[in-house]
């Protein structure tokens, strides 16, 4: 008999009595979602992955949600999947606006690497211990965090070098670009 998400939550509460788990309330919260504090995330995730009765071998995705003006402002959502038990489970971590940081779970599931980079890219949430926390979808020199609710949606002037004071492109290396002398060999 496959465990239910309720049973998974129960199991977590038994295994980690000192962690403040909180079930997300709401009639239209269609997937069983549990909030937990960020500092115990890696520990709980490792347990969820390694416990043979749960076996959450796959992290389906990680994403962020900006709840401006709520405090704490951000949620980071982790959708887990257990293939052997055919079960999904959702974990959430709330993060404050000031210097948002969450420990990385890329050590538990390597797939988290890109998902966390994407969340960083969109929301500016830093994943501590992440091996390569850089922008992934946006250009490296992009300023701001586009999926934050206070980030504007278009209608601004496009940033070029001529209208943005600090934006610059490196001068081309003319010597390297100069055409080389080519000698043709007769066949």
């Amino acid at each position: 008999m496959a465990p239910t998400p309720e049973a998974v939550e129960q199991r977590l509460r038994e295994r980690f009595p000192d962690v403040a788990f909180r079930r997300q309330e709401g009639a239209a919260v269609r997937d069983h979602t549990v909030y937990l504090p960020a500092d115990r995330l890696v520990e709980v995730c490792t347990f969820l992955r390694d416990d043979p009765g749960l076996d959450f071998a796959m992290l389906t995705w990680v994403g962020g949600v900006d709840w401006l003006p709520r405090e704490p402002r951000f949620d980071v959502v982790y959708h887990l999947l257990s293939l052997s038990k055919n079960l999904r489970f959702v974990l959430k971590v709330s993060v404050a606006d000031e210097n948002p940081r969450v420990p990385t779970v890329s050590g538990v599931w390597p797939t988290a690497n890109w998902h966390e980079r994407e969340t960083f890219d969109f929301y500016g949430i830093r994943f501590t211990g992440h091996p390569d926390l850089t922008r992934i979808l946006l250009p490296d020199d992009w300023e701001g965090w586009p999926l934050r609710k206070d980030s504007p949606l278009g209608y601004q002037e496009v940033a070029f070098t001529h209208n943005t004071p600090n934006r610059s492109v490196p001068a081309p290396d003319l010597e390297r670009l100069a055409p080389k002398k080519v000698t043709y060999r007769a066949h």
Partner: protein
């Protein structure tokens, strides 16, 4: 030596860039760089109603537009707590299975072309064209279909569509035989794919691969079987799984899937014929547009029409994630609703994005020529990766 492959390289299937660190012809380290096609669809969705986001999804995985439509609609339906009528579900199954065939045709044609077998490309695109003409008949567009709606379909299927689909489904197995005759025992094909781009079962799971990439690594996991949607539990089909863990195994899985998809489509056609005609959309006018004929004759229908077109529907406060087995893997949409007609957050879990992460594992320590095979065998679409 550091070699920059892409973003304009023809075999990177769009605008993928891979930075390769080479020692001679051997890849020491590989780093995929993405984002050249990023259009901020998730941000845009927060400023559109749920229905207005459907045309956006066509442009994600542009080889399988209807699969994307379906995933969005299912997520919104889950949030609303509604379900499309059985006949609409059967039409959805029929069209998404044809989509899977057409997507796999493009994959096989381009993958073979990358490796050097040119003929397959023409054969595959011939069949893909037939699916596109079916789309054309259904909704007037060859590629950007936008045919599914929350609660059902945009309109009823036109007359003669099922016959056209039936003809295609009857012919398709013979065409798959043709592809297999060209490739499955072709020594060049075998040399280029067998043992190439290996991905162990453990690595595939850890890196979150789904779809044929996962099934080619010996994991029997298909959302149509495991977590059925649209009544897939009522169809008789098998999930092809290969234990080869290489590019050839992924090829075998996808080719077998094309055959299974024709079986499912055949059953779906029969089911659509059996079910009462005209039942293509839910009659819950708080969320779903009333049929146009009623708008012209009924006052209530006109009011509902006006309300939904002007505001969109009002979902409850909450959130939902629904996933489907798209041609490339698990495609999921996550909606967070604050009770307004526009989603507070739309997150797309795109299979290509996650599957591409397995690329460095497949090619490190191997030859540059195998990079092309690896990218081809992953079946990525950059529109979906960058979104």
């Amino acid at each position: 030596m550091t070699l920059n492959m892409g973003p304009q390289h023809p075999s990177t299937h769009g605008v993928l860039r891979v930075v390769l660190e080479l020692d001679g012809e051997t890849v020491i380290r590989a780093k995929p760089i993405i984002g050249y096609l990023h259009t901020g669809m998730e941000k845009q969705a927060e400023y559109k109603t749920y229905t207005q986001s459907i045309p956006q999804t066509d442009r994600m995985d542009y080889l399988a537009p209807l699969s994307n439509n379906l995933a969005l609609c299912l997520a919104a339906e889950k949030l609303l707590g509604i379900e499309a009528p059985a006949r609409a579900q059967a039409i959805r199954v029929l069209l998404t299975e044809l989509t899977r065939i057409s997507s796999h045709c493009v994959w096989l044609g381009t993958h073979a072309l990358d490796i050097g077998a040119m003929t397959v490309f023409f054969y595959c695109f011939r069949e893909r064209e037939k699916v596109l003409s079916i789309y054309d008949m259904v909704c007037g567009a060859r590629m950007t279909a936008s045919y599914f709606r929350v609660g059902g379909l945009a309109s009823d299927i036109p007359e003669g569509l099922l016959d056209k689909c039936q003809k295609f489904v009857d012919e398709m197995p013979a065409h798959v035989d043709e592809y297999e005759a060209l490739l499955s025992r072709n020594p060049i094909w075998l040399a280029r794919t067998e043992g190439v781009a290996p991905l162990s079962t453990a690595a595939a799971l850890a890196l979150g691969a789904t779809g044929p990439t996962l099934r080619g690594s010996g994991v029997n996991w298909d959302l149509r079987k495991a977590q059925p949607y649209c009544g897939y539990d009522g169809y008789d089909f098998q999930v092809p799984v290969e234990k080869g863990c290489d590019a050839y195994a992924r090829y075998k899985v996808r080719v077998a899937e094309m055959r299974q998809s024709t079986r499912i489509a055949d059953q779906a056609i029969r089911r659509v014929r059996e079910l009462s005609p005209g039942d293509y959309r839910l009659r819950d006018f708080k969320y779903v547009l009333p049929p146009k004929e009623e708008v012209k004759t009924s006052m209530e229908a006109l009011i509902h029409h006006f309300k939904i077109v002007a505001h969109g529907f009002f979902p409850p406060v909450g959130e939902a994630y629904a996933a489907i087995e798209a041609p490339k893997g698990e495609l999921g949409f996550y909606f967070v609703s604050d009770g307004t007609p526009r989603p507070w957050r739309m997150k797309v879990r795109s299979p290509s994005f996650v599957n591409l992460q397995t690329l460095p594992t497949m090619i490190e320590g191997r030859l540059v020529a195998d990079v092309i095979t690896a990218i081809g065998s992953l079946d990525i679409v950059l529109g979906e990766i960058d979104r």
